[in-house]
């Protein structure tokens, strides 16, 4: 087993494959071998794409031999299983799509593959991306590579676990309220949610259309910029920098540090101090409405989901459970096909859109959303970036958050940015010891910028992680197990 190959960052692999010092086929074979060795424990993938991966790798080698330079040449990619990939099972980790084979490929996935990435597998997630721990998957358990008794975060938990366990160099995730940033924090990764709309959603199975956004999870910020998921707008390649001089970074006055629970706020104080050491000026900013983020989100997202998930009706594809008539067939199919959290959100959303409640819930939530976005706009008049925790705690043990509200609180810090459509990322910012834990657990710092400030954001994250080196402090034991 060549561990050196699976340890490489995306940029290193692409450079080596483009330079001809190693072939995509070799990288892919090593990755698949590693996946076979560890994924029984980690459970990152719902489907391993052995044949497709080898076929794509051979194709990349041919293209490189023909003189092409591919930005993601031979880079092993984990694709969250809510993105369509033609000819492969695409399940959303739901019974209702358990055997559904996508007839087309999502735009972002197609672009990554066209750029030379090798799809290793379809990664587990919370059912229809609804959850913060991957525990809502109906099709498999994913464990945190840093502590197998703990969750990998969610909903993009399979992608985060795959990258952390070196089963891929880049994971594609989708973030609706924090579903990239929180699992990145739990798995010692950089998780990046671009500006809403920057990356095509075509082929991403919708949870909440006005919030969903595809983005990458990687082991370092430098690699994020090289994914080039979208070619229509200016490149996201970060303006790489060594320090943060000249940047004003805002700390949000209203963010409730009590939401951090058992997690020491001192760890974040240390992170903010590091930002200062790197030359940033820390300023105090105010987001008076940010505290309403959670309530706002849990009206808008379920409302959209109730409509988006109506199409899973047993008529055209996916699970069908027969019934006496078509109504009974709908009922039986949806009752058997959707898990409890999905059903809960469909019910909440249906209620919020119902005649008589629409104005009180949906319309008010939309107004609150506008106010939240305006608060950010005002705050960015006084600072370049905002820093805050990426999640309310470190990775927790299975079944620790059994009541929905405590799970929803995981996204307390990430949801306001989602509502405002802003680009945000999580970057490793330290480790916390847990009693009886296998090893210390990573925590993440969230950085957020104004709309379309990706270059600045990634550059700052890169400077921070290069200087602090938190991500490199520990490796998951499971990564060395093959």
């Amino acid at each position: 087993m060549n561990h050196e190959l699976i340890e490489r960052s995306a940029a290193e692999t692409a450079a080596a494959v483009n330079g001809g010092t190693i072939s995509a086929v070799e990288v892919t074979r090593a990755t698949l071998e590693h996946v076979h060795g560890v994924d029984r424990e980690v459970g990152a993938y719902l489907t391993v794409l052995e044949d497709l991966a080898m076929e794509r790798a051979a194709d990349v080698d041919r293209r490189v031999a023909a003189g092409e330079t591919l930005p993601l040449a031979g880079v092993p990619l984990a694709v969250k299983d809510n993105m369509c990939l033609r000819g492969t099972r695409t399940t959303c980790a739901s019974r209702i799509l358990e055997h559904w084979v996508a007839p087309y490929t999502a735009t972002a996935v197609a672009r990554a593959i066209d750029a030379g990435a090798i799809p290793i597998g379809k990664a587990n997630c919370d059912e229809f991306a609804m959850g913060s721990s991957c525990e809502n998957s109906a099709l498999g358990v994913t464990r945190n590579p840093y502590d197998l008794t703990r969750v990998p975060g969610g909903s993009s938990g399979g992608s985060s676990a795959a990258v952390a366990a070196r089963e891929a160099a880049i994971g594609l995730g989708s973030d609706t309220g924090g579903s990239i940033r929180e699992p990145a924090a739990f798995c010692n990764l950089v998780g990046f949610k671009p500006t809403y709309g920057r990356v095509s959603r075509y082929g991403l199975i919708a949870f909440a259309s006005s919030l969903d956004q595809i983005g990458p999870l990687t082991r370092n910020a430098g690699a994020v910029g090289s994914t080039s998921l979208d070619r229509e707008v200016e490149p996201t390649a970060p303006a790489l920098r060594e320090d943060l001089r000249g940047l004003k970074i805002g700390l949000v006055r209203e963010f409730d540090t009590a939401a951090l629970g058992t997690l020491s706020s001192g760890l974040y104080q240390k992170a903010y101090d590091d930002l200062t050491k790197l030359g940033a000026e820390i300023v105090d900013v105010s987001l008076p409405t940010a505290d309403y983020g959670l309530a706002t989100y849990y009206l808008i997202a379920p409302a959209e989901c109730s409509s988006n998930l109506a199409r899973f009706d047993g008529v055209r594809y996916g699970l069908r459970v027969p019934g006496e008539d078509v109504r009974a067939m709908y009922d039986n199919t949806r009752a058997a096909g959707f898990g409890p959290e999905v059903k809960r959100r469909i019910l909440i959303g249906t209620y919020a859109l119902s005649s008589g409640y629409y104005d009180a819930y949906y319309v008010r939530a939309q107004k609150a959303r506008t106010l939240i976005a305006r608060d950010f706009e005002k705050a960015f008049a006084d600072c370049d970036l905002i820093a805050c925790p990426a999640a309310s705690c470190a990775a927790f043990t299975f079944n620790a958050k059994s009541d929905p509200y405590s799970m929803y609180l995981m996204d307390y810090y990430t949801i306001p940015m989602s509502l405002a459509g802003l680009p945000a990322l999580s970057v490793p910012c330290g480790w916390t010891d847990v009693e009886g834990g296998e090893s210390p657990l990573p925590i993440g710092l969230q950085l957020c910028g104004p709309l379309f400030s990706e270059r600045l954001l990634l550059g700052a994250a890169h400077a921070y992680e290069s200087a602090t080196g938190h991500a490199r402090a520990h490796r998951p034991a499971v990564a060395a197990r093959t």
Binding site: T90, Y104, A106, Y202, Y358
Partner: protein, 486 residues
């Protein structure tokens, strides 16, 4: 209808727009075809598929709005109408709820007596059509008792314009005239085929009755399943009669949806409208709002074609054409454009209309070619009208000429010149033909003089024939009569 009651009718029309592709995907928009051959992940609502609006369909909406004198708001949006139905792939329909593309407007329509009327429109909005279900195993095609259903999604996602009128119509005649006028307008704009038989025009009628002069509205019924203008007429008449009978019998009219039974000529209550639907409308988060620039409306306005109601007023007013002839021309927008062109040149609407709806239309039907596409250019027809008007040729020659123009095209004056077809009024020339004919038909002359005056027509015909049609028929008639009575 009884003078004790007044009917109050409003129409809801669904019109499929004529576009190359469907409303939100690239599938072809065509009628019929093998089931499920014009489908894709978007119009089948496959997981992850997203809509992209069809700009042409939006343009059609703007054109319809401007033509009907409606307001085009600067801001409009798409909403989702949520309900489960097997032929609706997403289980919601992309439609428009509170901010339609077109607001208000007026349909001006005329009745057979030539009077012009107006019906206000509430709104026109853009949405997508559903697929079609076929229920099998029940014998009568109904869902009740069927053992399975088949769905054809070829129609799913076809752009659909919904046009809702105010309750301004007062009779079945008015309702049909309204529909005809709306149909003519949309045809003139080229935004739809507007064929009821192919379902590109579908309509429902809301019918109620009240005392004449009353300003309140009675309980209404919504009539569905009308498949032709004739069935719209029959259904409304039947429903008005049913409602009057109920009221006369002291019964209450129930607000409900009723289906028209074409075979038995009655409306019947449709399955108790499954409570009131709550469609949970909300703005579609997959589609950005539409902002319509003023200069775009100005452009659409500047490009408006001739519209039926304007034409009708001009034809029956200034041109003094009959209602039937005017309507016949207007019903064919390309023909009306052609007619307008001819009249602009000939300045003789009556004679122009004679040719256009008469001989020229006959030739067009016979050869199955549209008049506007034929070799008879408007300028040539106008010239022909001029030749008849100036009595250079008579109507018989004109007919012949038209046949030749149809076959080979060209200027009729040139043909007349080349072949010496000009009508002759020269008395000496005509007298020569008359004398020859009378000399050759002594029996006829004798018979006439014996009182069998009906031979006159034959003799005149012979003279015309001898002149190869060029003689002025009036002069011939006069001269033959004169010679016979001397």
């Amino acid at each position: 209808m009884s003078v004790r009651y007044e009917a109050v009718i409003g129409m809801e029309c669904h019109v499929e727009l004529k576009t190359a592709t469907k409303m939100f995907c690239g599938c072809r928009n065509e009628f019929g075809g093998e089931p499920n051959t014009r489908i894709c992940p978007v119009c089948l609502a496959f997981p992850g598929a997203l809509p992209v609006p069809n700009e042409r369909a939006i343009e059609h909406m703007l054109r319809a709005g401007v033509a009907l004198g409606a307001t085009i708001p600067e801001f409009s949006k798409f909403d989702r109408k949520n309900y489960f139905y097997p032929d609706m792939p997403k289980d919601y329909q992309i439609s428009q709820y509170d901010m339609p593309l077109v607001s208000g407007g007026i349909v001006r329509y005329w009745l057979e007596d030539g009077t012009m009327h107006e019906c206000r429109l509430t709104r026109i909005h853009l949405e997508e059509d559903t697929g079609k279900s076929t229920h099998a195993g029940s014998g009568d095609g109904r869902i009740a008792g069927s053992s399975y259903s088949l769905v054809d999604f070829n129609r799913a996602g076809v752009p659909l314009m919904e046009c809702v009128s105010e309750p301004d119509l007062r009779s079945a005649d008015e309702a049909v005239a309204f529909l005809e006028s709306l149909r003519r307008t949309l045809l003139a704009l080229g935004v739809s085929d507007v064929k009821m038989e192919e379902g590109s025009l579908r309509c429902d009628a809301n019918v109620s009755i009240r005392a004449p002069g009353s300003t309140t509205l009675g309980a209404k019924t919504e009539i569905k399943n009308m498949n032709s203008f004739r069935s719209v007429h029959r259904a409304i008449e039947s429903e008005i009669a049913r409602q009057i009978a109920l009221v006369e019998a002291g019964e209450r009219i129930v607000q409900e949806t009723r289906g028209w039974d074409e075979h038995n000529g009655v409306t019947h209550s449709m399955r108790s409208k499954e409570e009131a639907h709550d469609y949970r409308y909300f703005p579609d988060p997959d589609l950005v709002p539409l902002e319509i620039a003023r200069d775009r409306i100005d452009r659409v306005t500047a490009e408006m074609p001739g519209l039926p109601a304007h034409r009708f007023e001009r034809y029956t007013g200034e041109y003094a054409l009959g209602v039937a002839v005017a309507t016949q021309i207007i019903d064919n927008p390309a023909l009306a454009d052609y007619f307008d062109d001819v009249v602009a040149r000939s300045k003789n609407p009556a004679q122009s209309s004679n040719f256009v709806v008469g001989e020229l239309s006959r030739l067009a039907n016979e050869h199955n070619v549209a008049v506007a596409d034929s070799q008879v250019k408007a300028a040539d027809l106008a010239e022909l009208v001029g030749l008849v008007e100036s009595k250079r040729i008579n109507s018989k020659i004109a007919k012949e000429l038209l046949t030749r123009m149809w076959a080979g095209g060209g200027s009729p004056a040139a043909i007349v010149e080349r072949e010496g077809l000009a009508q002759t009024s020269d008395p000496a020339a005509i007298e020569k033909f008359v004398d020859e004919v009378l000399a050759a038909n002594l029996d006829g002359v004798a018979n006439y003089r014996a009182g069998k005056t009906n031979v006159l027509g034959f003799l005149v015909g012979q003279v015309m024939k001898a002149s190869r049609g060029k003689a002025d028929p009036a002069r011939v008639n006069e001269l033959v009569k004169k010679k016979l009575s001397t």
